[in-house]
């Protein structure tokens, strides 16, 4: 029963953290996800997400907080992948695929060699929003603030680079730097989302809310706001459903998003045919 869920949220701190983490993650995922969708960089974002495991594994091995290892790893992989995609046009997908797998392999290697029980590996890969600490909720909030502030500052440039790279270049923008910078913001968003749905399913939250918003709303700003709202709806309803029926939270969130996307696509197609 949903009422049970509301009562539980009112009484359990870990659920309050999960609710907050879900809401805050939706902000970054709506804003950056919109760029991922319109620039068609889902594959590149997937590469960054998976390479992050390398950094988390290394941090874990040295006894640091995996999340703090994830931030430099995500930024580094964003810069490398961005540079590769700018330079090696024709072999881009192969090289990104390689970085994707090698990053994961590095992570698994370090986690395997870390003394003690490696239960965390599972939660990195598939997320565990119920385990998000109050401290990590703060971290997500700070990352959100950084991401949104930078997008507000660079909105014109990011949009121009996504829309028409060559024209942006003629306008004197440093297109390569802006593109890699945007990928760095994707990387920070990935770090946030890893806690909610895990590395493997990051790409769902990065693309589906924005894609759904894009089917119904006009313009990037509206798409971003709509995607944030959709993300909030998915994380919160996913949390409630998973709590009520004892299902894994990350997978429930992603399935709800996926089913909604499918429904939205069908509805949109029918609506357009009706005209």
């Amino acid at each position: 029963m949903p009422t049970d869920f509301f009562h539980a949220v009112a009484s359990y701190g870990f659920l309050q953290n999960a609710v907050l983490a879900g809401l805050l993650a939706s902000l970054a995922c709506g804003v950056i996800g919109t760029y991922v969708v319109v620039k068609r960089i889902a594959f590149i974002s997937g590469g960054i997400a998976h390479a992050v495991l390398g950094g988390m594994g290394i941090a874990y091995f040295f006894g640091g907080r995996p999340l703090l290892g994830a931030i430099p790893a995500a930024l580094l992989s964003a810069v490398i992948i961005g540079w590769v995609s700018l330079r090696a046009r024709e072999r881009e997908d192969t090289i990104i695929g390689a970085l994707w797998a090698v990053g994961m392999a590095v992570g698994i290697m370090f986690i395997y060699k870390t003394p003690g029980y490696s239960a965390d590996l599972f939660s990195y890969l598939f997320g565990n929003i119920l385990m998000v600490s109050a401290e990590n909720v703060w971290l997500v909030g700070v990352l959100d603030a950084v991401i949104i502030l930078l997008v507000v500052m660079f909105f014109k440039g990011f949009t121009a680079v996504c829309f028409d790279e060559e024209f942006a270049r003629v306008q004197g923008l440093n297109v390569d730097v802006l593109y890699i910078f945007l990928l760095c913001l994707v990387a920070l968003t990935v770090v946030i989302l890893v806690q909610v749905v895990g590395i493997v399913m990051v790409i769902a939250l990065l693309t589906l809310p924005a894609a759904i918003a894009g089917q119904w709303l006009r313009g990037l700003r509206h798409m971003m706001i709509g995607a944030c709202a959709a993300g909030m709806l998915f994380t919160q309803s996913g949390l409630a459903v998973s709590y009520t029926y004892d299902l894994p939270a990350g997978a429930t969130i992603v399935l709800i998003a996926g089913v909604t996307f499918l429904g939205s696509t069908i509805f949109k197609t029918l609506a357009e045919r009706g005209h």
């Binding site: 500052m153 014109k156 121009a160 024209f167 003629v170 006009r218 798409m223």
Partner: protein, 253 residues
């Protein structure tokens, strides 16, 4: 008659290629202020490449390009560029007004959103091309002719002195094409225009001069020639331009 005009665009002995084989070889071309030149040639002849050299998107292997007496990079704020349709995603979720404002990027502030004055100028540019009623529409909802005018507005929004257009009529119907050229001819009172096209027959009735490109370049006057353009043309004699390859299947004006 001998009054020397600084050319709007000066291309001197330019050779450029992506591989060992040059796409363009030993190109000389002067384009006078207020000239309206058509750059024609078959597919793969290097005409778009020539336009991108003028824009400074490519750097010549040999020779140099000057725009308004400056390097192309420095002259960019004075250049209005209308790219081919294939350069961008036509279904990108951006409204016409927002797309036109992107032409202000070189002149507006670096951080934060566009200003009220950017918006005003964008509306003015839309008015110039007769599309002020389309501002709120998504670019994906425009016809080919409408989109072409919007791209022209984006190029005009920073009041450039030179307009460079790449195949502007490739995706629009004949009627829209006619009125688009009429619009360009009116703009030609204020700006220099260089237009790339594969369709030599159509453009010769609108432009002052035709430059035929096929690795090398040769210039031809058309019937409508103003005194200004004659001056610019004879500044560099036509005979000095190597004309080693004829463009097959196309008449030279």
């Amino acid at each position: 008659m001998n009054e020397k005009v600084t050319p709007a665009i000066a291309i001197r002995s330019v050779t450029f290629g992506f591989t060992e084989e040059p796409v363009l070889e030993d190109i000389f071309l002067d384009i006078a202020p207020k000239d309206f030149i058509g750059i024609v040639g078959p597919n793969g002849s290097g005409k778009t490449t020539l336009l991108k050299l003028i824009l400074g998107l490519y750097t010549p292997d040999k020779g140099f390009v000057e725009v308004l007496g400056k390097t192309p990079e420095k002259a960019r704020p004075n250049l209005g560029y209308v790219p081919q349709f294939t350069n961008f995603d036509r279904h990108f979720p951006v409204t016409v007004l927002d797309a036109v404002m992107m032409g202000r990027l070189s002149s507006t502030r670096t951080f934060g959103p566009f200003t009220a004055s950017d918006k005003e100028r964008a509306q003015d540019a839309l008015r110039t091309v007769g599309s002020e009623h389309l501002g709120k529409r998504l670019i994906g909802r425009l016809s080919g002719g409408q989109l072409q005018r919007v791209l022209l507005a984006r190029a005009l929004v920073s009041a450039p002195s030179i307009l460079l257009l790449d195949e502007p009529t490739a995706n629009i119907d004949v009627k829209a094409e006619e009125s688009f050229f009429d619009l360009l001819q009116r703009l030609n009172d204020r700006v220099t225009i260089a237009l790339v096209s594969h369709d030599i027959g159509f453009i010769t009735s609108h432009v002052n001069r035709v430059a035929c490109v096929n690795r090398t370049l040769v210039c031809h006057p058309t019937t409508k020639i103003s005194s200004e353009t004659i001056a610019a043309m004879y500044e560099r004699p036509v005979e000095a331009i190597e004309h080693s390859r004829k463009i097959s299947g196309q008449k030279h004006g």
